[in-house]
């Protein structure tokens, strides 16, 4: 089967320039030949100086790499963004309602709209969360929604990230870099600001402080430490908010209250933006050998003296197997039709669907239910015969462990590569904050697959990022 021509976000089929990219096109034509090359070099210098690096798991000690940054921004029109934002807001509202329900009355399971086994027997379901009433009934406060585009009006949600989504610092720093590299290009557009993110993050965190925290609650960012791949982001966000960046050892629990160790003794902590996975936050309740967490933290949370952001157990709502039910979830809680579509997904435990998958694996994308970051994944069209055979066998052995989707022709954006501009596939991760209200930063992180023809945009697999512009009217 031949793949359809991917949608080019800059050019119409006849080669003319799409409206949002008009000015960019003009600007690009005005640039002297070496300009983009110089910008790319400058960009690298800017990022390296700021220490924006990420660690790659499995590679040698001391590996800190820069995520490649593409100097050509991706541009989204105001109308396109309005539609996206409405769809995203609807989705996160429904997912939070779903989380509240399954950790309380479980009405959606009783109604049979989502299979009970899928939730109750799921490793991502956290029974310890039963009955907790988090402030404002919000479980997932900080969400990244992965969206792909296949046509002028065709947006799909690829994945919801409700645990500890990362990458927002790249969104912010990409904008900083772009402002330094091409100030004139900004003057020729009305670009919606993203710098509001940190202010909104603070407001969100303050709005979910526990009762009795006072007017200015103490917020900390909890990191696994400097060896974590996203450490730069943790320190960046803490710095932007003026919050303390804590490791587990900096916090302790006493009689159900959480304190940090300061130079003048213990200080109460009200809200913890934790970037440590559920399993590791508290050795008393979860993984007993965790050295990263704070013993007693979860009990303090249950006792209502501290807010954890995001709440533990949110992973059940972004589980790949639950993903297929999100349209159902939206209708059940909001009584609305979903505004954003899911990518059609085959369920391998269904005999007919599995048969189709096994016969057409070369055209499909296979994902492990619990995999992430582009690992444990097969992209049919670019796979080898041996890889396809391996995944066929794996699916037969554990049909419930995989979800399968058609290979989407991800849209492309003009990207600077090898001293020239060429289309490369992109996706989009807008960031959503949920507290006293839902705040979506216009734009988000655009990830771009730098290899020609590649559909894998993950930074760990050779992807880069772009500044993402939402134009204001």
């Amino acid at each position: 089967m031949t793949q359809p021509t991917p949608f080019d976000e800059m050019h119409n089929a006849d080669g003319s320039i799409r409206e949002p990219y008009r000015e960019l096109d003009r600007w690009l034509r005005e640039q002297p030949p070496q300009a983009l090359n110089l910008m790319a070099t400058d960009a690298e210098g800017i990022f390296r100086r700021l220490g924006i690096t990420f660690a790659v798991y499995g590679s040698n000690e001391g590996t800190e790499k820069l995520i490649p940054f593409d100097v050509i921004p991706r541009i989204i029109s105001a109308a396109e963004w309005r539609r996206l934002a409405r769809g995203i807001e609807q989705r996160v509202r429904a997912l939070n309602a779903f989380l509240h329900d399954i950790y309380h009355r479980q009405e959606i399971l009783k109604a049979g709209r989502v299979p009970e086994k899928l939730i109750l027997q799921n490793a991502a379901f956290c029974p310890e969360m039963m009955g907790i009433d988090p402030a404002r009934a919000v479980y997932a406060h900080i969400i990244g929604v992965d969206i792909v585009r296949t046509g002028p009006d065709d947006f799909y949600v690829l994945e919801d990230n409700l645990r500890t989504p990362s990458g927002v610092s790249y969104m912010l720093e990409d904008r900083e870099a772009m402002l330094q590299l091409a100030p004139d290009l900004f003057q020729r557009h009305k670009v919606a600001p993203v710098e509001t993110y940190t202010e909104n993050l603070m407001r969100t965190l303050e709005s979910v402080a526990p009762e009795g925290a006072g007017a200015s609650p103490t917020i900390v960012v909890l990191t696994p430490g400097i060896y974590n791949s996203a450490y730069f982001e943790h320190s960046f966000l803490a710095d932007q908010m003026g919050a303390q960046l804590c490791e587990g050892q900096d916090l302790f629990v006493e009689d159900g209250f959480v304190y940090m160790r300061t130079t003048s003794g213990p200080e109460r902590v009200d809200v913890i933006y934790r970037r440590i996975d559920d399993d590791y936050i508290d050795p008393l309740t979860f993984k007993p050998d965790s050295m990263l967490g704070v013993p007693g933290l979860f009990d303090a949370y249950r006792a209502g003296t501290v807010t954890l952001v995001n709440a533990p157990g949110t992973g059940i709502a972004d589980d790949k197997a639950v993903y297929t039910y999100v349209p159902e979830i939206i209708e059940f809680y909001l009584g609305e039709k979903p505004l954003l579509s899911n990518v059609p997904t085959y369920n391998c435990t269904n005999d007919d669907e599995r048969a189709y998958v096994l016969a057409n694996i070369g055209d499909l994308v296979v994902k492990e239910v619990h995999g992430s970051g582009g690992y444990g994944m097969l992209v049919g069209p670019t796979s080898t015969r041996a890889q396809r055979e391996e995944f066929r066998n794996r699916i037969i052995a554990r049909p419930d462990n995989y979800i399968v989707q058609p290979t989407l022709a991800l849209s492309t954006c003009p990207t600077y590569v090898n001293r020239g501009i060429a289309p490369r596939h992109v996706d989009l991760r807008p960031y959503v904050l949920v507290g006293d209200q839902i705040r979506i930063t216009p734009g988000g992180l655009t990830r771009v697959a730098l290899k020609k023809g590649s559909l894998v945009v993950n930074s760990s697999q050779g992807g880069g990022t772009k500044d993402t512009w939402v134009l204001e009217e």
Binding site: Q121, P127, V253, F257, L284, T285, P288, P295, A303
Partner: protein
């Protein structure tokens, strides 16, 4: 019936630790068949502990032990008035939805050889109580457990029922006493404890889609007062107790202490950090 309980425990903690967190499920909850006339838990730093309901509706405490001396001594002492409800516990206030207790945990996996024969047995309305009694009898037949926690089934297939050892030590009432009372049998296999019976019963129920949960408590009489059993859900009657070790529904001699998905989540004491096992130094359950 009035039952007086006095239970002393020794909790080992690392020497020189500045702070040790202790999660306690040591405060029984009342229901129609059980009134708490008096209950007190004594130990260091308990007076300032945080009190909150846990996920299963237990009355939990988080105690922060400051520079504790090892072992830490705990004393549970109380007077409970019970009445025989034929095992029916019913519905208790702040408990989670019964469906939660269909979740299978590493401790409550059941081999199909145990529950398989009931798969087509009717299980609704009046039939359910009958089925649960049959399951209890079936479990009681599997009364011998191998030392490593493997349940040998009649057909010879085995399945592990214990989770991987973890650093947070847990101790439940069932394990402490029942195995002592039964003694070491000739074939050197560890006899099933009340905890094992409860897990096996719960596992079978969950495999049959019946919510079932673990109960830790005390038993008056006999030579095994520390005890554990199970409760299964019936839409009409609510929770009903089943004591597969004794092959009966809990009576006025049973005192309920805590519930959970399994022995881990209903553990009386959990500490972090920790070393070694919690020990019962003395226990008396007597009619008052």
């Amino acid at each position: 019936m009035k039952i007086a309980i006095r239970h002393e425990l020794a909790v080992p903690v690392p020497q020189g630790a500045t702070r040790v967190q202790m999660h306690l499920l040591a405060h029984p909850v009342a229901f129609a068949g059980q009134h708490i006339r008096h209950w007190a838990v004594e130990g260091p730093d308990i007076a300032t502990a945080a009190a909150f309901p846990d996920a299963y509706g237990n009355d939990a405490r988080l105690v922060t032990l400051r520079r504790p001396e090892s072992p830490v001594s705990l004393l549970l002492e109380g007077l409970v008035e019970t009445s025989d409800k034929h095992g029916v516990v019913g519905r208790i206030g702040r408990e989670p939805v019964p469906a939660l207790f269909r979740r299978i945990t590493p401790l409550t996996r059941s081999p199909v050889t145990v529950y398989g024969k009931f798969r087509s047995t009717p299980r609704d309305g009046r039939d359910r109580i009958g089925l649960l009694h049959q399951v209890m009898e079936r479990i009681n037949e599997f009364h011998v457990f191998a030392p490593d926690g493997v349940v040998p089934s009649i057909e010879g297939t085995t399945e592990s029922v214990r989770p991987a050892p973890t650093q947070t030590q847990t101790q439940t009432l069932g394990t402490m006493t029942q195995s002592q009372s039964l003694g070491e049998p000739a074939d050197r296999r560890t006899p099933a404890t009340a905890r094992d019976f409860a897990h096996a019963f719960i596992g079978a129920c969950r495999a049959l889609d019946i919510p079932a949960r673990y109960v830790s408590g005390y038993l008056l009489g006999g030579d095994a007062p520390g005890h554990a059993w199970a409760e299964a859900w019936d839409d009409g009657l609510g929770w009903i107790g089943f004591d597969a070790a004794l092959l009966l529904c809990p009576t006025e001699r049973h005192v309920r202490l805590a519930i959970g998905l399994d022995a881990m989540s209903a553990a009386l004491v959990r500490t972090s950090p920790t070393i070694g096992e919690v020990e019962t130094t003395s226990l008396s359950v007597a009619e008052a």
